[in-house]
Symmetry: C2
DNA sequence: CCAAAAGTGTTGAATTTACACCCATGA
DNA sequence: TCATGGGTGTAAATTCAACACTTTTGG
């Protein structure tokens, strides 16, 4: 960026965005849920026919985060509740044909939103920890995104992005448990959450369950969801 | 990256790398040290004459991290001990003339190494928390890099990258104190470091000081410096 | 009234923090 | 021997983790 004149070689490196989108889907019959992500089938070389992360080139008139959101919506009809930059991948052998630098985002969507996704012959959901061989270096990218999600759940409030406006602490705990793949103590989890300013009891209760009606909570809008990089404010 | 054919517009978005380099310099007369970083003066529009982060375009035959290191060496002669990707900046109004996406790295260099930097009319060191108005969005980028450095010092062992092979715990503590800008309890700091596998006592002592000779330590090479992103292994 | 989830209380362990105090050296 | 930084000991405060126990609902 020190040199404002694009080098004559600039066009030889193409720039693209991709997004790793996570949703939570309740396992059949069980209480637990598992992480899933949407992939799109490639319809040209290289890796024709393989599954890949949704994405595409950057339009010169849009910011890169916006480009990620647009490609995601165009291919899957998804609008994530959370979107953050993951990493820029720029190794020279990522693509066998051309040289591509990919700026990858990761995103979270609510389960209801995930239902609306345009699923079809060329768009499908996969279990995040049981993927087929993907195009390019996308398996490694998903691994890294999973690591970031699991790390960040423990110190930020991104888990809320999987839920709606109003939720019970048990629902929130189930999200944490599904992401971290281990059971959490309900009593201690409750105290942790209530001691943080991020969640607020509404005073309402959820009726209709088979047992004691749990309290309902909502997000504290004045608390930032999490740091989303340098451009948050 | 889903579309392997570069769009006809690809050349309209140029791609560059920049690096925020931190070094520690002892303040005159005092015990404390302060963070400094090298900037280069721009010699063309836009922002002609302003100071900016070292960087430049990506060569199609090199990886982006390598490109960052190369530009850094070419303009300042510095070889950092630590280099990690910071963030990709891609807003549409970053540059008044063209559209540039910058992948920014941050780096640490040892003090001795910093002495060797090619300082001149167009390369100078600045105090990290007292910068003039820089070109583009570089002030904001440096702020973010500072935040990352301060955050990461607390849970990783990157502070070692400011020191040589062998060091005393007091030297290491001074690094932490300079980065965090607050005093740390020597007794507790010592225990923290010794309880971690990252540092190992050599058994040697440093003689020549004015007081009791302190023990010398070295890094534990088998412990990763810190996570450097998805490409570490 | 019973089963089961919601929610509270309590205790011991582990960790953090503050600070008193002894040690070893050069001058 | 004294000033000073190197290094150890220790106890209070805080946080964490495990789990017993009480509450509230539907059936």
């Amino acid at each position: 960026m020190n040199d404002s004149t694009p080098s004559p070689d600039a066009a030889l490196v193409s720039l693209a965005v991709s997004t790793v989108v996570f949703a939570l889907r309740a396992d059949s019959e069980g209480e637990s849920a598992s992480l899933r992500l949407p992939l799109v089938r490639r319809i040209r070389e290289p890796f024709n026919g393989r599954w890949a992360l949704p994405g595409g080139p950057i339009d010169p008139t849009e910011g890169i985060e916006r480009a990620a959101g647009r490609h995601l919506f165009d291919t899957t009809a998804l609008s994530p509740t959370y979107l953050e930059q993951l990493y820029a991948f720029g190794g020279i052998d990522r693509s066998p044909s051309d040289r591509v630098v990919s700026i990858v985002y990761w995103a979270l969507v609510r389960s209801e939103e995930a239902e609306l996704a345009a699923v079809g012959e060329n768009v499908r959901w996969f279990a995040a920890d049981d993927l087929p061989p993907l195009a390019f270096d996308h398996n490694a990218i998903v691994e890294y995104a999973l690591w970031r999600l699991r790390t960040k759940v423990e110190y930020s409030r991104i888990a809320h992005a999987f839920l709606g406006e109003i939720f019970t602490l048990t629902e929130l705990r189930h999200v944490h448990e599904a992401v971290l793949r281990r059971a959490l103590d309900p009593a201690n989890f409750r105290r942790q959450m209530e001691s943080s300013p991020a969640v607020i009891a509404t005073g309402e209760h959820l009726s209709g369950g088979r047992h004691r009606p749990p309290r309902l909570y909502r997000y504290n809008g004045s608390v930032e969801l999490t740091d989303r990089g340098p451009l948050s404010p």
